[in-house]
Amino acid sequence: MGEEERALPIVIVGHVDHGKSTLIGRLLYDTDCLPADKYSEIQKSSEMLGRIVEFAFVMDCLEEERSRGITIDTTQTFFKTSKRRYVIIDAPGHKEFLKNMITGSSQAEAALLIIDSFEGVRDQTKRHAYILGMLGLKQVCVLLNKIDLVNYSQDKFLELKAEITDFLNKLNVHPNFILPISAIHGDNVANPSKKISWFDGPTVLQALDTFKELKVEEKPLRLPIQDSYTIDGKKILVGRIEAGHVRKGESVYLLPGRKKVEVKNIEKFLENDVAIANFEESIGIRLKGRHRVKRGQILTADLTSTITNRIKANIFWMDPMGYRTGDALLFRCVTQEAPCRIEKIYRRFDPASMEFTEENASSIRSAEVADILIRLDEKVVVDPFNEIPEMGRFVLEKDGRPVAGGIIL
């Protein structure tokens, strides 16, 4: 394993009590990634509450989480297999903590959707699956947990598998694997289990190891200006490359004004003569000539971005307080910010009860999703989410708090 290789971020989602935190504790323990002193701390805490060793306590370490037996906030931990390193993101399964689930999922490149084999698909299973689809997560593994509670039955597994495949496909989520497991007993997590000898698929770890890091595709430059500093009398623009690359001496456009400018220098601390900077690099830029440049403007290689003050989007409402017509909102996409209103709600619905849909709605409730038209006070530069994700996703704030996330169609 090369240490220079980066850790793959994976989110674990699913309905409350279906076993997310337990699975993570089990993964860490079985891969020998749980420090001995942490294990004894969990043992002690479990004993205090009169329970057997609770693997869930590895992640649920708030006092309230342990005594109530729930996950409140999203947590991250690290573990490694013989193949590579992982960042595991645990997401809470309660509806009231949906914003924490979304916070966790937005940082992931693959997902494990966990479903209790005894209870089957529940409300948060549906909401979480829907959000995975919307966030564009393509690498998904479904875990039918607590297979011990249905006597390790192959018939029950096949029945659930058919039901879940059908339901997920409707949400445009196509799982790479559907696996039977028991996190609490360790069946088919790190090691195959004799109790499900009828199953010839991979273990959770083997499935994880097939996931790939997202490939960085060659795209046209998008460099949103973050700030501007004067260092030793020189004006340096700073920002992070959200797509493509930039070269010293290159001609680029400054949007939204569509002005042509030339990159005089790429600046990095203690580095001279930087010829090129790539995707995800936080850099400094000096332009040739004098230009008025401010935060929120975008340097691009071409003119294919949309410059507009009306945006059609798909949003999910995270805040406990819903939306009512006329609420003033703030649109934030990369370093751009603009006051806005929702001009039209084409459709709103609750992913947990898909039967209910309202067209031409005037409000959006907490945990609902909606297709909307946004009207902004100023023009912004965006790209479709499917083409350049970084330029096609946004957050809506109300009174300074993030209330919704969205993707641009």
Binding site: R6, D73, Q76, Y229, E280, S282, D399, R401, G405
Partner: protein, 267 residues
Amino acid sequence: MDHLTRLENKSIYIIREAYYQFKEIAMLWSVGKDSTTLLWLCRKAFFGHIPFPIIHIDTGYKFPEMYQFRDERAKEWNLNLLIGKNEEKLKEGMGPNQGSKLDCCNELKTNALKMVIKKLNLKAILLGIRRDEHGIRAKERYFSPRDSQFKWDYENQPAELWDQYQSTVEEEEHFRIHPLLHFTEFDIWDYVKREKLPIVPLYFSKNGKRFRSIGCVTCCSPIDSEAKNIEEIVEEIRISKTSERSGRAQDKENIYTMQKLRALGYM
């Protein structure tokens, strides 16, 4: 882009975002390996000219090597270094052996920090905490609001997605900003090695012992180790089976001490 470069670029983005959002900002420097890494990243973010003060919360119980390292770097890197101390409690004789360790940490660290924040009217402070240090820290956001009582409302943290960080502060409120959240202990050492960063010599083995985590003389114990340089530390951490803070007394008094300290405003 390799792993460390990716971590570094994400941190630089967050540091610059914090400075854009808050001009009344400062960085907390404990002189340990993490906040020294953060200091280095701040130097990178601002091309060697950090535009805000660097604060050292001095409990008066730190190791002499730490004071020396602090003053040397401050000079070499031309830092605007400010020292925060709870003079009143120190005069009263506050120390880890007077009352509980929780009280001592709370007075000499948290309350000393509160005084500095009030005095400088800071709206944000940059801190070098990491998710893998402690379960409680794993739940942190990059931009983490604290109310007027310095309380952390960990049950109701703002959503944080796609690098959009909540930055609206009410009167009397401030933000803790954590640009190193995504680094692990191993990443820090690997990065210190790659960047050839200077580090307090207490981390290196002497007579078979070294410090894996440093703070106050009174509350840190060294671990058994033969690691005499950065390369050997990196190798040691790679195969280590105990957690980093196992030598830190304040984490051990009670299993929820860290949660309580953090709820009171501890770093």
